[in-house]
């Protein structure tokens, strides 16, 4: 069937547009209707606003870091303006700024970004459910996040924390900065993360609609499920670390501090036992988004569904066994070091499988280079570099040289920014019409994807070279031989910032000037595209019947109304079940 001509006589299903009373954004109004809402969609949107603000703050701090490193002796924090409102020395300001940048990015943005913001919005809708299993717990975890964020950021500011986001002892316990308060903040945020994970596990286990077996779930749900398992199992370790720190400070029991016969490396074990799985909390949901994006915008069945689903679980489990690779130079025994190196290599396999499967999904597809697809392809490129450079760090001989240099900085930015952030942006652009009911300017979105891609590479590619050449990380000043590479990196970061700004403007403009979004603007087959944009308060009148979430042949482009619609005769129904009826208001409005 060619584009624009719908078969005569076929039953065309399209939910149409929501009325003002149905639309979850307008169904009730007033500040309290948002503050005390139990609606997962509103909570998701509040998270989205929260993590975006955190990202904005931490991103500006990143620009400050890059501007400081414009010249070998430091530029930005040496400006006289800083002398006027602080008596800290430039090096101290630099150290506090990179600590804040890392801590806010990790604990307030990357960890909650996809699971809490997009996950909250999408998990119940993708399941055809009305809400998550425990809506009150969901609201509670949002407020824990808000409270934790305020507590954490004020602890960092009040004590001028300059330890790096890892809070390594004994440096963190011997400076005047308060590691206990900061860890407590991180742990409150951790609780928010545990509750969200718990909620999703129960929701996915118990609330799948008729017909949605485990292997008929959208891959985003598989990714969310794996992430939730890690959140529930790993985060409590952060609490244990906190208790041990307090026991040491208060009762002087030697655990981490050599002053009381403790061992600082023990702290690193505890810290990374949480923080390494946390790396997978950050990247797994991104994998889920990319699986959806590539398949929908290629209009082709995802290739190797089971391999992708299993590899998420494999990563979640193996991710618990590799924390030691952060400590290859710390002086662990040779045997331990070698075992951790071997285990580290095993994690690379499931990640590689996913990338191969995504590429195979595009093969012989019907690809539309929409904004989300541009971000998805950008993700593939950047994440591949991030993953491959991980091999240099998992290999012991080369890690001894590259550890704690800019090579590491570049590597994890390729994974965390090139991976998670780019996937997050792709996801936001993909589901934006669903979330707010407005289409954005496609050209503007594509420009933002291109700027982000170019700016990001210009920022971080030179850092691989710097690292190989021996430039240590966390240096406020550096040898002049690195000046040119640092300056390239700074120019790149400004370009990256510009790209992100364009993305923000494009999305905000859509709220005022965007066209009304159809229920299914991209031709997706998962359930969120079967309800109106934005979804009604209760998502679905009754549990919809589901088939294969990646079966696109019954979805047709309706040229005259610029929307994709489901064409009924080809739709597979589960025997014995009635087809889901479109609500009365939604009959053909065109």
């Amino acid at each position: 069937m060619s584009a624009g001509s719908l078969p005569k006589g076929a039953i065309i299903r399209d939910p149409g547009f929501p009325t003002k009373r149905e639309n979850y954004l307008t169904t009730s109004s007033g500040v309290f209707s948002w503050m005390f809402t139990l609606d997962h969609k509103r909570i998701g949107m509040m998270y989205l606003a929260g993590v975006s603000i955190s990202f904005g703050v931490a991103g500006l701090l990143a620009l400050a870091i890059r501007l400081h490193l414009l010249s070998p002796d430091g530029w930005l924090f040496n400006r006289p303006i800083f002398k006027s409102f602080t008596d800290s020395e430039p090096n101290d300001i630099y150290n506090q700024v990179f600590t804040l940048h890392g801590a806010i990015m990790v604990f307030l943005f990357i960890i909650p970004s996809i699971p809490a913001a997009l996950g909250n919005f999408l998990v119940p809708v993708m399941l055809g459910a009305k809400d998550v299993a425990f809506p009150r717990l969901n609201l509670c975890s949002f407020y824990l996040w808000v409270f934790g964020a305020i507590f954490f950021v004020s602890a960092l500011f009040a004590s001028g924390l300059d330890t790096g986001w890892t809070f390594y002892t004994p440096y963190s316990t011997t400076t005047n900065s308060s590691v206990i308060l900061a860890t407590m903040g991180a742990f409150i945020l951790g609780f928010s993360s545990i509750f969200t994970g718990l909620n999703f596990i129960v929701t996915i286990n118990t609330m799948r609609p008729p017909g949605m077996t485990w292997f008929k779930m959208p891959l985003f749900l598989w990714a969310t499920y794996s992430t939730s398992i890690i959140q529930v199992l790993a985060t409590p370790v952060l609490g244990i670390t906190l208790l041990l720190l307090i026991a040491e400070r208060v009762m002087h029991i030697g655990i981490f501090d050599p002053e009381f016969n403790g061992d600082p490396v023990t702290y690193q074990h505890f810290f990374w036992f949480y923080s390494h799985p946390a790396v997978y909390i950050m990247i797994l949901p991104a994998f889920g988004i990319i699986s959806e994006l590539i398949s929908v915008h290629s209009h082709k069945h995802i290739f190797g569904y089971r391999f992708i689903a299993y590899s998420s679980i494999a990563i979640a489990l193996l991710g618990f066994l590799v924390w030691g690779h952060h400590m290859f130079t710390a002086g662990m025994s040779s045997l331990t070091t070698i075992i951790f190196s071997a285990l580290t290599f095993t994690v690379s396999i499931p990640s590689a499988i996913k990338v191969f499967n995504w590429l195979a999904t595009m093969y012989k597809g019907s690809i539309c280079l929409t904004t989300p697809m541009c971000y998805a392809i950008s993700f593939l490129f950047l994440f591949t570099i991030g993953g491959l450079t991980g091999l240099f760090l998992g290999t012991l001989a080369t890690d001894l040289h590259l550890h704690d240099t800019y090579f590491i900085v570049a590597h994890f930015h390729y994974v965390m920014v090139g991976g998670t952030l780019v996937a997050f942006l792709g996801g936001v652009f993909h589901w934006w019409p669903k979330m707010v009911g407005k289409m954005y300017d496609e050209k503007g979105g594509q420009v933002s994807a291109l700027l982000v891609f170019l700016g990001f590479n210009l920022t971080f590619l030179p850092q691989f070279v710097m690292g190989s050449r021996g430039m240590p990380r966390r240096y406020a000043t550096y040898d002049p031989e690195f000046a040119f590479l640092h300056q390239m990196s700074t120019v790149g970061s400004l370009l990256l910032g510009l790209g992100l700004l364009v993305a923000l403007v494009v999305l905000m403009m859509s709220l005022y000037r965007g066209k009304r979004a159809p229920a299914n603007p991209w031709g997706g087959a998962t359930l969120e595209w079967m309800c109106t944009s934005p979804p009604p308060f209760y998502n679905f009148d009754r549990a919809p019947v589901v088939g294969d979430p990646y079966e696109f042949h019954w979805i047709e482009w309706d040229e005259s109304n610029e929307r994709y619609v489901s064409v009924e005769p080809e739709r597979k129904l589960v025997p014995g079940e009635e087809p889901a009826h479109a609500p009365a208001h939604s009959s053909h409005k065109h």
Partner: protein
């Protein structure tokens, strides 16, 4: 595995030399790496380029797919996919399992080289290292300490490292060697330098020395690109974040061609010799890391300035105060945290067992030259009791 087998495997694999990136690495200070100056550097770089080529082997076809597929299969909205194959198990198994062999190979190569680095050979030349906020002291034995690391070409050298305060990490990019220094324990590392440092011409050295004598202050390694003794050097960095002056916690490595040359250098710094107390005290001030925290010109650094040291009253965090005398100087060097001057952090490491009585006397004599007044011996007895009482 025997070293012989290792050598055999290693050399047989490295024969093809893997083309252009290796060429880049072979020139001193290539695009990717600094000079290869230790036996381990060549090994690590070889593993690096092996991984790099494997990565390129995968990356190029993958990028080709990323670019070519969207170009080739781009269709207008509503177009249908040409194929809807949902999986191909043999293909997927192949691309899951086959790359694993390459990973195993990488792991083995990396671990082999790593085991070499872990086991210092018997009879290696042992140098003690003390890392502190923010500097280095190398212990050459026999009471000789110096902030520069001087070692011998082709001589396996073992570093026995300890930290006076927080975690540091000794990193010499030219040697591709790095090891954390964790307080509360000794950490060890070793390497065999293979490339001796050049010596600059006498004329160049003399010019720099005259300039230095005129300008005063501390020797600017970055500007001159050679040490005050006229040697070119390799950089030595602290790689583990350790606070305010982390990025300034750098020193230099000089590799000597012959043992005689190294011995001469060490002898030059071993004892006071014929120097007067004052002159030797100034050398210790520069050599033992005092200079990084205590200025001579009144600028405020991490510690109080030594300018007019005996002219002012020193106020401590506990509220007490004294006028400096010989005992106070001694106590501050051996037990710096007993009395901490107000507005300064308690970060100075103890030099107990590292400075002889003669060394301390020399420093004291040097400090006296910086003040107009000097303490009288009579007041000494009274002030000793006071600070001790105040500590409790």
């Amino acid at each position: 595995m025997t070293p012989n087998l290792h050598e055999f495997m290693f050399s047989s694999l490295s024969i093809p030399n893997l083309g252009s990136p290796t060429l880049l690495a072979d020139v001193n200070d290539g695009f990717w790496f600094p000079t290869q100056a230790s036996s381990f550097a060549a090994e690590a770089d070889w593993v690096y380029f092996m991984i790099l080529w494997i990565c390129i082997l995968f990356f190029v076809p993958m990028v080709f797919c990323m670019v070519y597929f969207p170009y080739k299969y781009m269709k207008a909205k509503g177009g249908k996919a040409e194929s809807n194959v949902s999986h191909n198990t043999p293909l997927e198994l192949a691309w899951s399992i086959l790359p694993s062999f390459l990973l195993v190979w990488m792991f083995i190569q990396g671990t082999w080289a790593f085991l070499d680095v872990r086991q210092p050979p018997d009879g290696a030349y042992d140098i003690g290292v003390q890392a502190f906020k923010w500097g280095w002291t190398f212990d050459y034995g026999g009471g000789t300490f110096h902030p520069e690391l001087h070692i011998l070409k082709d001589e396996p050298t073992k570093m026995s490292m300890r930290s006076a305060d927080v975690i540091h990490s000794l990193y010499i990019p030219a040697f591709r060697a790095k090891k954390d220094i964790v307080p509360g324990r000794y950490n060890f590392m070793w390497f065999k330098p293979t490339l001796a440092s050049e010596k600059v011409s006498e004329i160049e050295l003399n010019n720099a020395k005259t300039e230095f004598a005129k300008a005063g202050g501390t020797w600017d390694y970055e500007k001159h690109q050679f040490t005050p003794d006229g040697y070119r050097f390799y950089d030595l960095y602290c790689a583990e974040y350790c606070g305010k002056d982390h990025s300034a916690m750098q020193t230099v490595v000089v590799v000597h061609e012959t043992r005689a040359e190294l011995d001469d250098w060490i002898k030059q710094y071993s004892t006071r010799g014929t120097d007067s107390l004052e002159v030797y005290g100034e050398k210790l001030y520069n050599r033992r890391g005092c200079a990084s925290c205590h200025s001579l010109d009144g600028t405020k650094r991490t510690g109080p300035t030594f300018q007019g040291f005996f002219d002012r009253k020193h106020e401590f965090v506990d509220g007490s105060s004294i006028t400096v005398d010989q005992n106070y100087v001694r106590e501050s060097i051996l037990d710096p945290k007993a009395q901490v001057v107000r507005d300064y952090p308690p970060v100075m490491p103890s030099f107990k067992g590292q400075l002889s009585d003669d060394d301390i006397d020399s420093i004291y004599a040097f400090l006296q030259t910086l003040s107009s007044s000097s303490p009288t011996t009579e007041t000494k007895a009274e002030t000793v009791a006071e600070p001790t009482a105040a500590t409790e």
